[in-house]
Amino acid sequence: MDLPQEQPLVVLDRVSKSFGAVAALTDVTLALAPGEAHALLGENGAGKSTLIKTLAGVHRPDSGRVLVDGAETRFSGPADARAAGIAVIYQEPMLFGDLSIAENVYTGRQPLKTGRRIDTKAMHAHTAALFDRLGVALDPVRPARGLSIADQQVVEIAKALSFDARVVVMDEPTAALSAREVDRLFDVVKVLRAQGTAVLFVSHRLDEVFALCQRATVLRDGKHVWDGALEGETPDGLVRRMVGRELSALFPKQDTTAGEVLLDVRRLTREGVFTDVSFQVRAGEIVGLSGLVGAGRSEVARAVFGIDSVDAGEVRVNGKALKLGSPTAAMASGIGFVPEDRRQQGLVVDASVERNVALASLGRLSRFGLLSRGAERRLAQDWAIKLSIKTARLGAPAATLSGGNQQKVVLAKWLSRRPSVLIVDEPTRGIDVGTKAEVHRLLSELAGEGVAVLMISSELPEVLGMADRVLVMHEGRLVDDIPRADATEERVALAAAGRPGVVS
């Protein structure tokens, strides 16, 4: 191993961890030096989150040592790791919905005044200052419930910053963020590094990895396969190390001829959220919906699917008016919806993988009102292979899957239903490069079969590569509709910033 010159802040030394028969980590070594940004790479289920939870004191390693400043340390819980200066941003935001944002940031460390009482004013001011530093306008006093995934992520980041940690671990912090917030985060990371903080960074977006990190460690199937400096490395080279084979091209969009209009959204308005949104999606078309986080993209999708109510407008599916405000009606009319927040809205975490996959297809799988276990299992098996869902058993609870594999289960659930209109919100959030290509291929295949696909994505290359047309939203309004041929990064970004059509 090529160890950095300085004394590393923390070292995981030949750490192993199993969950029952699943060896999530085998003899993994990782050293973090002061001031470095270190990428942790690997496919879904490679063991990244498990490694992080070991570093965070959540999991105790079965064997191996954890060294802090060169001294062997035993964390008996997350509080110990935090006391050692390790801050962790988990893959799934972990907030207390009932508490205010400020309390979420300062849980257990609230500033105190006389008599050990919590100094609420100071807490709010500190939190506001942190948000200032991150360049976001969030009200520290509002409850965390109802925040978008991106905002939740921002709160998590503020939390990590708030206690001047020496090691900041970020498990896919950018998965739900759009370019602007990612830039902010990168600035913050630079400041942290300059202060001598070590940053461990997990992301499936390799461009970010190269932009941010100096060194990387690659895991495959719970084993350490490579670590070293990123200088001189190529994305392809890293991917090869991650998957152990060559990958086909990303974004394999087939050309299709658009058919009749399947989804027709007319002047949809929800006061204060989005205004006068009209667009159409034709059979065989993939329409990308782009824009900054908070522009109202997800909200439009949720309204079309009937989860949120609207104040005005109508939606037609296949020519027939859709009863708004009812997901049941939307499903019956043939709409499928893969939501943004998979833990809360897409997945029953305590139910088995196969039950989750079958959930949206219950009607098709049951006979005389009874669910056929065999059919359920066959369906799940089929999709587990198609999306390479990594799990010990299909009967295992979905909660035990890695983040990316949970996402695949949600995808499988809706794809298997064979909808005629498919709305996907961040379909590849948290999904590794290999499977990403597979998801793209599947979406494009579905479009080829005549499904109308509306794809919301914060990842610009994905939108540009996949979409036949790109719709751009800015502050609740649809500001641009760009055909594939004209869709450039610049034009989409300008439109997203509220300046459509100004291409120099």
């Binding site: 997350p78 009200d139 905002d151 909200e299």
Partner: protein, 338 residues
Amino acid sequence: MTTVAPSRARRIADLVGRARELGIVVALALVIIPTAFVNPRFVEAQGIRDLLLNASVVAVLAAGQTLVVVTRNVDLSVGSTLGLSAFLTAQTFADHPDTPIVLGLLVGVGVGLVCGVVNGLLVAVGRVPSLVVTLGTLYVFRGVDFALAQGTQINASNLPDELLDLGNGRLFGVPVLVLITLAVVAAAALYLRSYRSGRDLYAIGSNPEAAVLAGIPVPRRVFTAFLLSGAVAGLAGALWVARYGTVDAAAGTGLELQVVAAVVVGGVAIFGGSGTVVGAALGALLLGTIASCLVVLRIPAFWQQAISGALLIGAITVDRLLALRLARELRGRSDHDA
């Protein structure tokens, strides 16, 4: 530093938070005013004192119960804890008439602490669901109570006058018992609002998984909540002796349901994470007041139960609707465009 204007989300949440306490005050007015027309003495000083006195034992218990319920647990054993503590306190005074009052109260609290330790250990360390544990200890504590009492009853004649004075005396016109209740409620409210470990209780109830990851010592906090609930129930037992002067092994039977009802009517979410002690105490006052009003209005006792039940269901329904509405409101309206 830029200051963020109070977001819509904050205002909505504030409103919902206050709606409950306001609602209870309105409900109180709605039951008291008609009753006052039927019987004006109901709102004279003595009438009001009686109202407060009747509600005080349940209010004290509700304050303790709130600590437990916000952590997504429940303590069904409070009625039995109260009974056991009441009997042992009374027996202490009966056997040793010279016992200082404060020491007698401490006996009650001590008995409650022991009960709380049992509950807390089983829930926090044994990881048995609190519903099961406290349902069990509800019977166990009561059983111990019966075994100790062996059918005896302790009467006012066996108790020192100072104690009975405490139960029926006044300070500046306010019953001492009510003052003690206010002190307990204020202390619990302060703890839940302004102390780190108090806030931890909300965090645990709001998202147990995140609480562990945030480094909150969850078992210890849950244990503390049960301990405090037990201690408060123990104190309530001693106060019970002071107020009623007569104690047998059945004292406080069935009280736990009134307490849980008061807590829920008072706006404490039964699934944890939100609600205040003041709300719970107001809930106790409302339920107590309704009971008194029905007596004044000569409405049969069984109606009283039906009305309490209806109120409970009403409160839960309103809660649910408010929560759904709140979630919807909070969601769409991002702060970015505020």
